[in-house]
């Protein structure tokens, strides 16, 4: 067992060396060159700050719940809540809109110019309206993440639906699959699935990036993004870095988990396809 783990590790030796060297370099630069915890906390500073904050508890006051939980966990729960509110809305709206646009040409011509005008507006530019329309609550943070995530989902779903090969549609038709509903359900959707999931991955990335700004304007007293600003005001730059790294690792984890699930389960028929 241990031997096997060691073998896996030695197979990744170059990657490991790369990460270790970066950490050592960081530590040396912070301690001997910058020599200032405010400008650049060292690796050990960040590690101690992380160990320190892990043991701190706070109250989770969500949905009338009243638990004492580690503060990091509470921040994580809030952030994931904001993130999922936005992403679920983006999925529920983006996929059907993209499907309809890709399948019915006239509707595409109606909707496409509107989307092309709204899409280049950066999600963060919506903050004033998010506050005015929704107020300072988690839904407003979710709204910003929704704005960031919905367009990649629409566009990839649309592209996937538009590129459905004629031969599959015709093959389905001669096999007795004739209505638009059936063709979408049994041909276009499975065909477009790789493109849709790629869109969801991009959307999750963009949504995750919007998280910090979405929590910045005070939608709640917790959240990974909110805490970055909170500790910045308190000049706890080591904790700022702890939260930054947490955001990075979580984003990486979410992406990997999704990719593992999609490639392994949903899209195994594409194994032969070179991406």
């Amino acid at each position: 067992m241990v031997k096997k783990d060691f073998q896996i590790l030695s197979g990744k030796s170059i990657e490991l060396i790369s990460i270790c060297s970066a950490i050592i370099l960081w530590q040396l630069v912070a301690v001997y060159i910058v020599q200032n915890k405010f400008y650049l906390p060292s690796f050990t500073d960040v590690t101690f700050a992380f160990v320190g904050i892990i043991s701190k508890d706070t109250k989770l006051g969500l949905f009338g719940l009243d638990y004492q939980l580690p503060v990091l966990l509470v921040d994580l729960i809030y952030s994931l809540m904001h993130f999922w509110i936005g992403l679920i809305f983006a999925l529920v709206i983006g996929i059907p809109v993209g499907m309809i646009m890709g399948w019915f040409r006239t509707i595409n011509r109606v909707v496409d110019p509107l989307i092309e005008i709204i899409r280049p507006i950066p999600p963060l530019a919506w903050i004033p309206f998010a506050i005015v329309w929704i107020g300072l609550n988690p839904i407003a943070a979710g709204f910003l993440i929704f704005i960031g995530a919905v367009f990649p989902i629409i566009i990839n779903t649309f592209t996937g639906f538009k590129s459905v090969s004629r031969v599959y549609v015709e093959a389905a038709k001669v096999l007795g699959c004739n209505t638009d509903r059936e063709l979408i359900r049994y041909v276009a959707l499975p065909y477009a699935l790789p493109s849709i999931t790629a869109g969801i991955r991009i959307a999750m990335g963009v949504g995750w990036m919007c998280l910090v700004a979405a929590e910045m304007f005070g939608v709640s007293r917790n959240g990974l993004g909110y805490k970055i600003w909170h500790h910045y005001y308190l000049h706890n730059m080591d904790l700022v870095l702890v939260y930054m790294l947490l955001l990075g690792f979580l984003g990486l984890f979410i992406d990997r988990a999704l990719r593992y699930y999609i490639d392994g389960k949903l899209l195994k028929w594409r194994k032969g396809v070179v991406i």
Partner: protein
């Protein structure tokens, strides 16, 4: 039963710049039950268009097509089709591809699977039951496509250059297998090809078409005894006759 009747069918394709080609010009013909008919002709003679009109994927500008006296308006499970391109759904395994048609007719998955095994056996691919199309060779893909078309129990099988993309050896094997299936299942087969050799080996009737406008030039009844010998004298004589006729078309 699988009697196909084509009555005065015309089909014109118009391009954006107002030039139009008459792909089919007032074509009429009849195909009897359990016939094996091959369509052959220079490219652009409308043989594929005619097949697509019979399948219901394309509509004639004028004229009608009947199957067993019933007018054809749209694609339907009574006409199976095998395409030249590989048309298996890549996201479905072989067996799921075969049961697609029956499931669309509302047959329960359990019953459809039982039937599908039969067709899988007919094309000799039992060990590839759960493979995905990307794991199959070109010849196997077309075998599965035939099985999938047969699973709806059509009375007519329409084939649009189904072996066009295969190498010569595989093509010969599949032609032989197709004849066996045709004899076993008692169905009518309409087969578009550009290979004279293929037509002479397979067909009861060869429909020779000419291009621009697309019309039926000649219908040749092939009465060579089956099983046919590809290199027999009679086959060669017939081949030469068709080749000469096609050559005249191309130099016209």
């Amino acid at each position: 039963m699988g009697k196909v009747k084509v009555v005065n069918v015309s089909r014109k394709f118009t391009k954006d710049n107002d030039t139009s080609t008459l792909a089919l010009d007032n074509v009429s013909m009849e195909v009897g039950d359990e016939d094996f008919v091959c369509f052959i002709g220079p490219s652009g003679c409308g043989k594929t268009t005619l097949l697509r009109i019979i399948s219901g994927l394309d509509k004639p500008d004028e004229g009608e097509v009947y199957l067993d006296g019933k007018k054809i308006e749209s694609p339907g499970p009574d006409r199976g089709m095998v395409f030249q391109e590989y048309s298996l759904f890549p996201w479905k395994s072989v067996i799921d591809n075969i049961i697609f048609g029956p499931q669309m007719q509302g047959i329960k998955k359990k019953d459809a699977l039982k039937d599908a095994e039969k067709y899988l056996k007919l094309v000799g691919l039992q060990q590839f039951r759960d493979s995905y199309p990307y794991e199959l060779s070109g010849g196997m893909k077309q075998r599965v496509a035939i099985a999938r078309a047969l699973a709806n129990e059509p009375s007519v099988l329409l084939m649009d250059e189904p072996f066009g993309a295969l190498d010569a050896q595989t093509r010969n094997i599949l032609q032989q297998e197709l004849l066996e299936i045709w004899q076993k299942k008692n169905i009518t087969i309409l087969f578009v090809t550009h290979s004279v050799d293929e037509a002479v080996f397979l067909a009861d009737k060869i429909v020779l078409m000419s291009a621009r406008p697309g019309i039926i030039k000649e219908i040749i009844h092939v009465d060579l005894p089956r099983p046919r010998d590809r290199t027999s004298l009679e086959a060669n004589v017939l081949r030469e006759r068709i080749l000469k006729s096609l050559l005249k078309e191309q130099t016209r």
